[in-house]
Symmetry: C2
Amino acid sequence: MYTTKALKSLFLEYMEANKFEFSPRELFEPVDYILQLGGKRLRPVLLLMSYNLYQEEVSQSLPAAYAYEIFHNFSLVHDDIMDEAPLRRGKATIHHKYDINTGILSGDVMLIYAYKYLLDLEKKEAIPEVLSIFTKVSTDVCIGQQYDINFETAKQVTIEEYLQMIELKTAALIAGAMYTGALLAGATKVDCQNLYEFGLNIGTAFQLQDDILDTYGNAATFGKRIGGDIVQNKKTYLVLIALERANSTQREELENLLSSRPIDEAGKIEKVTQLFKELNIKELANKKRDEYHLKALENLNDLAIDKKKLIPLKEVADSLLQRVQ
Amino acid sequence: MYTTKALKSLFLEYMEANKFEFSPRELFEPVDYILQLGGKRLRPVLLLMSYNLYQEEVSQSLPAAYAYEIFHNFSLVHDDIMDEAPLRRGKATIHHKYDINTGILSGDVMLIYAYKYLLDLEKKEAIPEVLSIFTKVSTDVCIGQQYDINFETAKQVTIEEYLQMIELKTAALIAGAMYTGALLAGATKVDCQNLYEFGLNIGTAFQLQDDILDTYGNAATFGKRIGGDIVQNKKTYLVLIALERANSTQREELENLLSSRPIDEAGKIEKVTQLFKELNIKELANKKRDEYHLKALENLNDLAIDKKKLIPLKEVADSLLQRVQ
């Protein structure tokens, strides 16, 4: 079995050997650019891990891991255009470095190349199902993105709607990666399905953690500005649970704060976090994330494998879901 | 065997039964909108025709025909954003009717649904090859679009480069549709390949015809404004062949005209067409289009079918490539 670090190294080697060194460069150079900005490579590593639960040698699943990473980055490229985001991982987004048209067209070709890599898989008999699950979860990502856009202007968003949105936008792709790794490795349908559910639950936990870290994280390790969601008036889990728990005075204050764009952003962040504190939001959000984490671990209980093999997977989940004090 | 009209009807019925009536409507309603704007349905009809050369009953190939039509419309949606085009088939483009973000995201989901319909094909054993050819030609469309963008600001574009661009941007998808129809119908590899080549040649002829009609067509039947390419300074085949044939005085005049944006657009169109007349451009362009048409017909010579079956296919080509007087 491979360690997480070894799987990531294998994947990075594969990426390096499969750069988008094609012509015309105006189309493909931006693809290389975005893929080389780094990141945790979470989806490909999880896909390889899922495969590695059933097979010692993982190289056959590398094209699928790459496909999921390419799709994930495609979705970032197009989302960053829609969100008018200038930065991604501390570097210029494609549409800022080049232009919007480049972001659109290079993104399109990435989506096509994700399919191309899945079609490159050696296990030809698995291709229709691998592509079907990929098509399903990539549709989910688009639907999730649409809900996210809708929520920006929606008067009210329920917690249930929010959780469904992040399941579609974030967790589905992770679930698809888990399913695909196991499927390619010859796991049973039941195991594939359990790993898919694991992906949905752990992916939702990751997004809740992201919401928590955006307010309570450490700027140095989080990599984004603390309080960014508050400044942008995003309806995160923290905000929605706060609105649910607030008395009418608190709700009015929170709604006023989160529909304003004051110059004193630090003051706004402080007022919102003060309200969060009164309402015990950090604890409630931690609890919700832990619920999903626990459900994810339960999805692993019935897998037809030696339970020791689950250690690296559980470690990755733990390291990404560390409780914020 | 079906008539062209019958195939188009069958396809329109299938489309009607497979509308994008999903939620969220913000994402899928624009897809229905663009798909219902009409058009010749050339790619799906050609795919069905190619299938019908080998099989009497065509219904099994309808999902593939739909996939090609969805992809074609996806490419129009994203191209129209890039070109800032307000109108498509006389109606508002998606990004004008809704907004750019809707155009991007609804376009993305269309690309994914094109794959989804191909995965729905009953002939499961053909799916990997059907998807590979689709992935190849859809990549070609993106590359062709990039060359088209590059040519806008390029100082010089050779005729060879232009013909390669339209082969990628326009003809490749038609070629893929022809190949896929035959493949699904169980044709030999040689026949599939010949029909692919037919598609490349006839698709290039269609685009050359489009260039010709843009200057010499009848406004009522062409559906676009006559002289639009000239107004927009597009480097069409007509312009490139004119630049090649022009003496230094004529070239200078043409280059000046085609780098200007005068208020008197009609005057500009008249001056350019006068130069075209001096250089015999209409005749030269007709000749080039006829060359591709002839090559396309030659690609049909060696097919392992009764030649009478080719009549509807040849009629479609003839009707779209009528000589402009």
